[in-house]
Symmetry: C2
Subunit: 314 residues, 2 copies
């Protein structure tokens, strides 16, 4: 059996025909359009193209799964708010069903990525996984017994919006001191810039050709590895924020695996080794606790399509 | 069908014969003994007494469930550490099986209380609940789809050991700034004493007959209700700590119900009203989120027996 997975991004819409082993058989990408109506028309064309190329019809697929950033009401298939595309209250599942008489499932992009990695990616074979995506914001996904857990109205797993420092940095969510304010890529960039401004001799200045606007999520890591002490301080502090956030998740869920996604994970084993060193000192959250595996997401750009298609099997 | 529920406490061991509707048909209590061996012998007598009084044998029961404080390895039925009773690595389930040829299940006392309240108490009828027990420490329980979630090796749901303030108060768990350090009854007492020492004219001094050692979890609440501004500051700050902790759980799980247990819950509706007022300002964690019910545990001292017996149906 096949299903269709669609990954809605800020810049493009990716669609794929996926088999029941999570393998993408065919995929296509279309640039995002100005209005939801246009995107939906394009999406229908993308799906038809996938089916046509394989000589399939809608009867041959289990359904269509869609992963989408922003605020989603998955239980009714509505995109509440998708700021990057200017969407508000778009009944996406119903609109797609006007074109295809099949099941349509919608979920948050972080949830979908977690599902893909848990079923077919770096956490394949495990039952209970927690994923954090370290991007502009911090997304989360909870997989319990190989199933996506989304909570009431599918609004759960906002793992980035849990407190690290009450009364801390102002968060976009309206609260203060959320995990997102300290471990997102944006936060790391902010922390890196602040450290550079406090040390004009740091190697990090050379690294960005003395243009602080060129700082990215790699700047501090790269210079710390070369021995710059100011960069090392940034990385140590970041590892502490991230490890404390992860130990919170360990104490709550005691998952078998923690999956990390997002650009910062390009640091790979260097990142997971340092997280493990930190967590080891605190017994992975609680004395006597089993040690979870800490893994880097491996499906990359395909995770959205694969996870969206997997929604049909949930 | 019946099952036996046993609630191990620091002072006494309670045992009950429970029907499949969570109703206690018969119960008894025995003071805690000096050694694990003695407690186990007593426990066997307690169970036999429950069965004999109803003319039942072990064939008539589904099994024996045990709720226990301390560190538990539920998956192998072992009490790892129970400091109050001086127990270390007691294979409790196996020891009880020497007396009774039936299934024996063991879990953490906070998990067991959550299960009781979710199935038969204040959250009866709901599927997804989170419980926090505000006692000397802060216990937690996660109920998903009417089932207890305990994570790997049944070591999960340490909800009290998640961060409110990184680098904050030293916690018994070895980390800093855990929820437990700010919302336990012990924390409230510490906060109350500190406020009293900073204001010698506070009504709270009269309330405890000028003996600061008499401060308990009610002192600040009682004087705040009577208009004492220093007491009100303690209560406001406590409500903030507690509400932020609960909003973290809301953002993670988006539960239908949050259940609060422990002595502080004697404040009842006054407590839940103030939590709701605080959470309302922050949209219950995230804008557009459904509002969970916030309920006070209602099974009281029976929760341990009822929840332990319910472990057999998990």
């Amino acid at each position: 059996m096949y299903s269709i997975g669609i990954d809605i991004g800020g810049m493009s819409i990716k669609a794929g025909l996926v088999d029941e082993n999570g393998k993408i058989l065919e995929k296509n990408t279309v640039k995002s359009a100005a209005t939801a109506d246009e995107v939906i028309v394009n999406m229908a064309k993308q799906i038809n193209s996938l089916l046509d190329n394989r000589g399939l019809t809608v009867e041959n697929i289990k359904g269509i799964g869609i992963g989408c950033p922003g605020a989603i009401s998955g239980y009714k298939g509505v995109v509440d708010i998708l700021p990057n595309l200017g969407w508000y209250n778009v009944p996406l599942a119903d609109r797609i069903k006007e074109y295809f008489d099949t099941e349509v499932r919608l979920s948050n992009d972080a949830n979908v990525a977690a599902l893909a990695e848990a079923l077919y990616g770096c956490a394949k074979g495990y039952n209970d996984c927690i994923m954090l995506t370290l991007g502009t914001g911090v997304g989360g996904g909870i997989i319990i017994n190989k199933k996506l857990y989304e909570g009431t109205e599918c609004k759960g797993a906002e793992l980035g919006h849990t407190t690290l420092i009450i009364d801390g940095e102002q968060c976009t969510c309206g609260r203060n001191g959320c995990v997102e304010c300290y471990v997102s890529a944006s936060a790391l960039i902010r922390q890196t810039k602040a450290a550079m401004l406090s040390d004009r001799d740091s190697m990090m200045w050379e690294c960005v050709s003395r243009d602080i606007e060129k700082v990215d999520g790699k700047t501090a890591f790269s210079c710390a590895k070369q021995g710059d002490s100011t960069a090392e301080n940034v990385v140590s502090q970041y590892i502490k924020y991230l490890s404390e956030s992860l130990m919170n998740m360990m104490n709550i869920f005691r998952p078998e695996v923690i999956i990390l996604g997002g650009g910062i994970c390009g640091e790979g084993k260097y990142l997971t080794d340092r997280i493990e060193q930190y967590c080891e000192r605190f017994h992975y959250g609680y004395k006597g606790s089993p040690k979870p595996a800490i893994k880097i997401a491996e499906l990359g750009n395909d995770a959205g399509i694969i996870g969206a298609a997997a929604l049909l099997y949930q």
